[in-house]
Symmetry: C2
Subunit: 261 residues, 2 copies
């Protein structure tokens, strides 16, 4: 069962304003909900997810996952019809299960000094939800724990972002920050700041320290001019053909594959 008010609430979460008003977002689909349930709750307060309010699922999923459901006695699982699911789903093809989730505050006072033990990604005005989600998945693959998003990046809780992370959003820690402040802190603390720029040093020939910030620019405009002076290492991915640019997530993957190994 799902009430009309609850349907209305969940539908409102398609819009950023309401996600942040209610501090809630949706997680959809069998794989994503299972990733959500597998969060290490001892670390709960450090992560993105504050708590799972309720998991809505159709009969087929409830029956199939009874063993899993029994592992979470304090969690509310609600049986709904396929028609009800279609009303609250943000997917083109609704799956069988959808969780309503409260999130933790992602802005924070940054203390890079004692806390950064490896590379962190910094995203400058990233706009495409699929790119943000894919980059969080890349971070999770390469063991990067932090992704700093500039305050003007696309909203993390956009359903397309969440889905594109394939569950990595529950392991990687994304923060929204004032970018220049972050750069100033990193510079003061002597951290290297890497960024891909036209005319930079060929990335394959660069040497990377064990920890630093890797800045990824906006899909169209690259790294904004006010941030460029902070880069201690300008890198480039050699172009052998004619494409004007690489997709931002692909470029991130290439840089991480070389910088993290």
């Amino acid at each position: 069962m799902i009430s009309k008010n609850q349907i209305k609430l969940i539908q409102s979460l398609k819009i950023k304003k309401y996600r942040h008003k209610h501090r809630a977002f949706v997680v959809e689909g069998d794989k994503m909900v299972k990733e959500l349930l597998s969060i290490d709750w001892k670390k709960e307060n450090e992560g993105l997810v504050k708590r799972i309010r309720v998991v809505y699922a159709v009969k087929e999923w409830i029956e199939q996952e009874q063993v899993l459901i029994d592992e979470y006695p304090s969690l509310q699982f609600e049986l709904i019809s396929a028609a009800e699911l279609a009303k609250i789903s943000q997917l083109q093809t609704p799956n069988k299960v959808l969780a309503l989730v409260d999130f933790n505050d992602l802005s924070m006072e940054l203390s890079l000094q004692n806390s950064l033990v490896q590379h962190a990604l910094v995203l400058d005005h990233l706009q495409d939800p699929g790119n943000l989600g894919t980059i969080i998945r890349i971070a999770d693959w390469f063991g990067i724990e932090r992704v700093y998003c500039s305050n003007d990046c696309v909203d993390l809780f956009n359903a397309k972002v969440i889905q594109a992370t394939m569950g990595s959003v529950f392991r990687v820690k994304p923060y929204y920050v004032a970018l220049e402040k972050l750069m100033q802190d990193a510079k003061r603390e002597g951290l290297p700041i890497y960024g891909a720029m036209l005319g930079g040093e060929v990335i394959h020939k660069s040497s990377f320290e064990r920890k630093g910030l890797i800045v990824i620019g906006n899909e169209g405009a690259g790294i904004r001019s006010s941030i460029q002076p902070y880069l201690s290492h300008k890198l480039s991915i050699p172009r052998l053909g004619k494409a004007e640019s690489l997709n931002a997530a692909v470029a991130t993957g290439i840089i991480c594959a070389i910088a993290c190994l």
Copy 2:
């Protein structure tokens, strides 16, 4: 002006069956149409595009691009209203211009022997349109001229594929082929066949020949088991974190960045 029949024809091209029946597809948006117009027509018969039937544009675009339009005296530019454009557009937010394009046959008798001068990509059952488009863009960046798609890959002329290539689809040559036949030919001719597989050799430590096939597997299932025995080099991208997998286009970018340089 655009006739009702023409609107109907273009709308039908949302569906693969009709794209292939009419051997036509649409190219949308200012950037993409300009990339289309900039095709080197001397190489016309070798490429994807057979001819541009007509370019539909709203008044603003026609006025703004008069100089460009004058460069193509034999090409038909048609002024249409924003409402008409919305009817034929496949974009969520219709742009100002849309071209109707005839395509060339993409299946071919392969003769790898004398023709392959560099690496070529081979896509095994790739399903996501965004991934296929992004991979074509990657190929174009790294100077890879050929992308062989298995016959069960997503249709190249899907609007999402075309848009995601950012114009690279007009420079890279994509072919649809019987995958096993291609593998047999490559093996007979002694070409190396690289493929990313769990448990493969760490890609950073691999050495690459100057030309060969690089096989990219399906998003969920990887490289199909009937193709795996053909791989002469099994590669892996080291995983330092917890993500189950990398996005197929991101993995392609990483492999190309290492294999092509």
